[in-house]
């Protein structure tokens, strides 16, 4: 069975600070991993995805994530956050076939203090 755990339900940081949002996954097969962001009253938008290759993947708006098979993790990072980054971030796991359902983490609500 697949699972995704985001251990931090809420994170608050000051504008300009660095950020790490944690994600741990469990998968029996090859994981496809994603980070999505949801702004208030909007749908989920893709930030970045990892299928294979370089474990550090770059996404939009300066976000990056690092895949670690040994730690079963896919943490999201940003060097310097902006107040507009305040949103809910979801770590998502997919199986390796085209029709596989996604498994969502519970989400981390990020608040950036001006």
């Amino acid at each position: 069975a697949q699972s995704v755990t985001q251990p931090d339900a809420r994170v608050t940081v000051s504008e300009g600070a660095s950020l790490q949002l944690r994600c741990k996954y469990s998968s029996s097969g090859t994981p496809y991993l994603f980070w999505y962001v949801q702004y208030p009253r909007q749908g989920l938008q893709l930030l970045l995805k990892y299928y294979s290759g370089d474990p550090v993947v770059q996404g939009v708006n300066g976000f990056e994530a690092e895949f670690s098979k040994s730690n079963s993790s896919f943490h999201l990072r940003k060097a310097s956050v902006h107040w507009s980054d305040s949103a809910v971030y979801f770590c998502v796991l997919s199986g390796n076939n085209a029709g596989a359902k996604l498994t969502f983490g519970g989400g981390t609500r990020l608040t950036v203090r001006p």
């Binding site: 496809y32 994603f34 999505y36 009253r41 909007q42 749908g43 989920l44 938008q45 893709l46 995805k49 299928y51 979801f90 998502v92 997919s94 390796n96 085209a98 029709g99 596989a100 359902k101 996604l102 969502f104 519970g106 989400g107």
Partner: protein, 111 residues
């Protein structure tokens, strides 16, 4: 590319009424998914279609929920006899190359 389009954005129904939610996937995407999002339960899978065929509806409450995809350009989610616990944001997504693209959602409020 307008992305995944969901209509209406907000629907208010009275208890016991029917609600139909619409989704237009991105052209060329072969799979369409429906999810329900609430504060308490988070994101819950409902059902999905591949090439218009229903593949997995294991997340659908069987008695009052139904989904169809009559053609490749739209899918509907119908809820009969709506109940207050059906109040949620219903998200539709289409899939290409293992990546889901979500619509903005329909917020259903059952009074």
């Amino acid at each position: 590319n307008a992305g995944v389009i969901q209509t209406p954005r907000h629907k208010v129904t009275g208890k016991g009424q029917e609600a139909t939610l619409w989704c237009e996937p991105i052209s060329g995407h072969s799979a369409v998914f429906w999810y329900r999002q609430t504060i308490v339960q988070g994101l819950e899978f409902l059902t999905y279609f591949r090439n218009q065929a229903p593949i997995d509806d294991s997340g659908m409450p069987k008695e009052r929920f139904s989904a169809q995809m009559p053609n490749q350009s739209h899918s509907t989610l119908k809820i009969q006899s709506t109940q207050p616990q059906d109040s949620a944001v219903y998200l539709c997504a289409s899939k290409s190359q293992n990546t889901l693209y979500f619509g903005a959602g329909t917020r259903l409020s059952v009074l």
